[in-house]
Subunit: 464 residues, 2 copies
């Protein structure tokens, strides 16, 4: 069994450097573990305090009377080696080192210190996540081993995110609370002391709760190892990669951030493609692609239908098909004649199909969607419908039709509504396999990621 099972599903966790002072990260690490729904045991370690947040505090990890699987370390960098020796003697499996000031720092000391902790860990077969990380989260077991208690609020899902930057992991995680997306695990790699992308990808490849692996890469020392691991995993499940640091100046910044050169972007992108990994260029694309891969099936081709409640949104979606190389498909004769029967000659009755004039006839809207999605010449569908009070019940109606189809053909949707509206509707739509996006263009672009992924897989398989 992988050592990472103990790290991501520990029975007992120690927080070394736990604090009762809200100005210290040790306070938030403990709060994350206690309040995040984790059902394992939590042990604060702080020699100056008797108890913290109602839990007995221990002077050191070695004084805890039970076995510890995972230790969170939030002490000053100079003490980390000593603390790590204690973790080794306590026989912990993994250590998350939140503390910064290692290889990423300009000080020579940092590089030296990272070498020290690495050799301590390697000798004992202990795995270090970090240093210089916000931590790890495993929503499957309610584990929030990070300095951000709010990460416990994330929706449980089937995406596992490995991020080199804590900021980017937080950005994506927070986006998910606004746009809807569920995670299994989130891992902040930080300086990648002796655990790198390849190790976590290897582990997630066989993790039953992970359907999609999403990786944010600034730069690695051993790109070949990353690509080999990604190539192995991508045979089993989709991987989407977002590589930042494309310009030379951003490259330099990456070096100072997590201690490695970003390297040539084009080489990364080509290598990802070669091993069947979908590479994206912006964080919004990263989010949108992982969402599509998480929820939707892969389309059999690039013939897209657009059904809209407001012609203007359909035109935006049609523009997006053009921009992202999708084919705004011709409806079959049969579908077209059905549409002609269902819709009055008041608006667009070809693809993009405008249901606008029939907004109040829900049965008719259902029939339109049904006839289009069942059309064999259509491989994927984007549905657009803006909220109005008069039509507020349409999303649930259409969701009940789409649930029979969205596992067969990918369906994305843009259902804009005022803040706080259509929240439940969107959740139901997504639970039926329809991925929603804030704009028609992003809903269509998401389909284009699936089409690109399909081509990528076809190429990769044919090469094998």
């Amino acid at each position: 069994m992988s050592i990472f099972n103990s790290i991501f599903s520990p029975r007992a966790v120690a927080v070394i450097g736990a604090s009762d002072n809200p100005r210290k990260l040790g306070y938030y690490c403990l709060a994350s573990l206690i309040n995040g729904g984790f059902r394992g045991e939590v042990y604060p370690v702080n020699p100056s305090l008797g108890s913290i947040m109602g839990l007995k505090s221990y002077p050191s990890i070695t004084s805890i009377p039970v076995d510890i699987d995972l230790a969170l370390v939030v002490v000053p960098s100079s003490i980390v080696p000593k603390v790590l020796e204690e973790c080794v003697s306590k026989n912990v499996k993994g250590v998350v080192v939140i503390t910064a000031g290692f290889r990423e720092a300009e000080l020579k000391d940092g590089v030296y210190l990272q070498g020290v902790i690495r050799s301590i860990a390697d000798r004992a077969g202990v795995k270090i996540i970090g240093p210089n990380t916000f931590g790890i989260v495993n929503l499957d077991v309610g584990l929030n081993a990070s300095f951000t208690p709010e990460l416990s609020k994330l929706k449980k899902g089937n995406i596992s995110l490995i991020g080199q930057s804590g900021g980017v992991c937080h950005l994506v995680a927070y986006m998910s609370t606004i746009y809807g997306l569920g995670f299994s695990k989130i891992v902040g790699l930080g300086n990648r002391c002796n655990v790198d992308f390849a190790d976590i990808i290897d582990y997630l490849k066989d993790d039953a709760n992970t359907r999609v692996i999403a990786i944010h890469v600034e730069g690695v020392d051993d790109a070949r190892r990353l690509m080999e691991a990604a190539g192995q995993a991508s045979r089993i499940k989709p991987i989407v990669a977002y590589k930042t640091g494309r310009s030379s100046i951003a490259d330099k910044a990456s070096k100072t951030h997590t201690g490695s050169l970003a390297g040539n972007y084009q080489l990364y992108e080509a290598a990802f493609r070669q091993v069947g990994v979908l590479a994206v260029r912006d964080v919004e694309d990263f989010f949108d692609a992982m969402k599509a891969l998480s929820i939707c099936p892969i389309p059999k081709g690039n013939n897209v239908a657009i059904i809209t409640g407001q012609a203007g949104l359909g035109i935006i979606a049609a523009d997006a098909c053009y921009d992202y190389g999708l084919n705004l498909a011709k409806l079959s004769e049969e579908t077209y004649s059905t549409i002609l029967k269902l819709l009055p000659p008041l608006s667009i009755r070809e693809n993009p199909i405008d249901m606008g004039p029939s907004w109040s006839d829900l049965e008719k809207c259902r029939s339109i969607v049904e006839s289009v999605i069942s059309d064999e010449s259509i491989h994927a569908l984007t549905l657009c419908f803006t909220y109005t009070s008069a039509s507020s019940n349409i999303v649930l109606e259409l969701a009940s039709v789409l649930k029979n189809w969205a596992s067969i053909k990918p369906v994305t949707a843009c259902i804009p509504a005022p803040y706080g509206y259509w929240i439940k509707e969107r959740e139901i739509l997504e639970s039926h396999g329809v991925a929603t996006y804030p704009t028609p263009s992003r809903a269509v672009k998401a389909l284009s990621f699936l089409v690109t992924y399909r081509k990528l897989k076809a190429q990769t398989i044919s090469k094998r």
Copy 2:
């Protein structure tokens, strides 16, 4: 005084086709006017009802005992000519025709009917907004003359939006409730019977409450007239234009939507540029550009500084500078040495500047921002900071520094937070002139719109 003053700030409004049936648009039109905070008088017209929503209902507009400035028409299309004749005899100034089934329809009748109502209106000097529109909104006076009561919830601001598509207007309006943006007026042009873009642009050009004019164009019959009006107005205030229907198939859809060909996109874009209008290619860009123009000053150049709380976000922002042609500026010697004094050698101390290691020292963070924004070689700033419980108070601290600068140099920000968090903080930041965006890339791209606008103005002025 412009006839549009009476239309956008009417003393009395009639709703012809008002209804007490929530399955009819006439119900929502009346609800919008009654519940939207409008301080003028509202008169329902419906011959079959004695009263609606507590208001006496009149059999026809001519039976209303007071003068009516604006009439909303939501009756079947065949009755619209008769109703319009009554409006003329009542001496109304403007009519918003919500009813569809005119020029946009495939039926020959529609074209004919539109000709009929146009000639009735033209003869009497009455202005028709629509037909086939959701209506108009003027948040300055709480007027919501539309079928969407939720539009009354929009924030009052300085942007006026003219949209050819109601769907796009709704999309942008709903985006504003999520991402923060204030409107003065929103106008759904629909079929542009005898009121076109040029008329509204002319009016808004001199409207004191409108700082930015945003137009969504599908296609017009008289592009020259639009460009002339836009050229006149763009000398006085910024105009941002989003032209949809770029592909031939989307073009065709536009024709069926609001009755006009989309035309060649490149010609539109070139013409907009020539008359000093900022053209954008996606609805997100449209939103982001109008927000930047609404809140920020125009930068004196394209030297951008990035200050971040998490290096990973700074690297995304740096990539975006590269993508959108902005210069990630070199800090002056003085600023650089200040930063070296303020920040420990733990992270990036050049541009992009990572405040991460000093997150808990608010005074230090203030000083960093102050020294960078006051650096004369810096023309614009993007600030990134993700929410963590430990640093939740930083936004307000930085807002108090930025308020002295954001009216002099444009500042954009990306402050990602979980759903429902940092709402007040974002509002305060924006009230101090800092435009916020969901991702670092969009925050930087927004600056690039301002830089493009500046170049556009310089070219347009030099040509005059």
